[in-house]
Amino acid sequence: MKNLLELDEVEARYGPVQALHGISLTVGDGEVVAVLGANGAGKTTTLRAISGTVSRSGAIELDGKQLRAGPEAAARAGIAHVPEGRGTFVDLTVNENLRLGAYTRRDRGVKADIERVAEYFPWLTDRGDQRAGTLSGGEQQMLALARALMSRPRLLLLDEPSLGLAPMVVREFFRVVRELNEKEGLTVLVVEQDARIALSISRRAYVLEVGRVALAGTSDELRGDESVRRSYLGY
């Protein structure tokens, strides 16, 4: 499998505080990769470094090409980032949110794509004119995912999608992500507190500790690892 995303010794800082101390990881084309770790391990910062929302050093390559700094450049290169805590425009309607997802696209297929995306989220169809802020938490998270799909991303970054959602909604969310990966070959890098559900859809995973990669392997290997089981799976 050829690498779609490659991070080489990536560092990032918030003012004087260094959050990443040289992260190296790869995501293969069409692969689902999970990033696990405790609070403050640098999971979210890793995604932010990739989408250019935090200043970084070190090399990030997408499809063999050096990724330029800044979120606009990342978006234009085909990276869709669904941030933690529902990334929707609450004052805009569902349809407007979806159209904004396709903002970087110049082609005429946007309308058709809204219908295509709605096949994964049937409830979206008759609620196009509803304000995003009036949706439930789970619906907003689904809308954030649908909006990310509207950009026809090469790489989807998901940050803690399970946060604050009911278990049933979380399962439904990950079911859709798995389906997108299997049907459309969508490449996904997912950061999750809920290691069990993340490992259930990922092929490989990285465990971060204080801004470094502590452990890497296939999801099956990590599930079998004593320390991962104790720290993140809880049995």
Partner: protein
């Protein structure tokens, strides 16, 4: 009825300037105190084009809009953007500095002597169903509402308009979907400068062009924006028109003994009173959504 029409005409001007304030406040969270002076500068540019270069009114109107738009964009890029990451107070002080600088420039360039910017509309009156109204007033209302309508089309039905609204709602998110946020902010300043230019060019023929002409109007625009809700474009328009009609009705009624204490000098204090009362009683205004602070 006549009073209502002429109130709507001045209200339309307040609405345009209030809308300019709202556009900038929504996207950057600051009040642009220089908005009135920017409008004055635009009116002087229109005057120079018509009086000194022999342009007729409408070509000069369009050229002034284009120049003002460019001026607004440049102002944001050169003056506001460098301080944007600082506190709100810093930006406010910069806009006050801009107010003084533009006012100084206008006096230096054109002297403080009042000039006459000619009106595009004849000074006739017409009879509409028994009501005698001035063509000047009708024209002013039509231009103001026309501009508001065009702006609404831009915001509601174009991709740029959608991006402008997205930036106002959530700039971080907007960057993630690939919107060039700093350019959208500059565009907002350009549009605001254009709205101000229209307000300035409609005001000058009525009150005479002088460097101080927009200062009172800016206060009325503040009152209109606060009344409608400082983040609500619809509110700015409704607030402007309401204020215009209200002030005119007060003047009118005072001639007939009602509110006979109300004189022209009380128009401005009344606007300030409205600002104060709205901020005390309903800070979000008529159309604004109450601000929710998370603790």
């Amino acid at each position: 009825m006549q009073q209502v029409v002429s109130g709507l005409a001045s209200g339309g001007i307040y609405a345009l300037l209030a809308l300019a304030l709202v556009i900038i406040h929504r996207s950057t969270g600051v009040i642009n105190f220089a908005q009135g002076e920017m409008a004055t500068l635009s009116a002087y540019i229109a005057w120079t084009l018509t009086a000194n270069h022999g342009w007729s009114y409408w070509p000069a109107f369009v050229a002034t809009l284009a120049l003002s738009f460019g001026g607004g964009v440049v102002t944001h890029r050169a003056v506001i953007r460098p301080v944007e990451r600082g506190s709100v107070l810093r930006i406010v002080i910069v806009t006050i500095g801009l107010l003084i600088a533009i006012n100084g420039f206008v006096v230096w360039q054109w002297s403080g002597e009042p000039q006459q910017l000619k009106s595009p509309f004849p000074s006739d009156t017409i009879d509409i169903g028994g009501v005698i109204v001035s063509v000047q007033d009708i024209g002013t209302i039509a231009v103001a509402l026309g501009i508001v309508f065009l702006l609404w089309l831009l915001f509601q039905f174009t991709k740029v308009g959608l991006a402008l609204r997205a930036v106002a709602v959530n700039p971080q998110e907007a960057r993630l979907v690939g919107v060039r946020v700093t350019w959208m902010l500059a565009l907002g300043w350009g549009l605001a400068a254009m709205l101000g230019a229209v307000a300035g060019m409609l005001t000058a023929p009525a009150v005479g062009l002088d460097p101080q002409m927009m200062q009172a109007i800016l206060i009325y625009a503040f009152a209109a924006a606060v009344l409608g809700g400082i983040d609500s474009p619809v509110g700015a328009v409704v607030g402007g028109l309401t204020l215009g009609v209200l002030l005119n009705m007060l003047s009118y009624l005072s001639q007939y003994g009602l509110f006979d204490w109300f004189t022209e000098e009380l128009r401005l204090p009344t606007a300030l009173l409205i600002i104060l009362v709205v901020l005390l009683v309903k800070p979000s205004g008529l159309f604004g959504r109450p601000e929710v602070k998370r603790v």
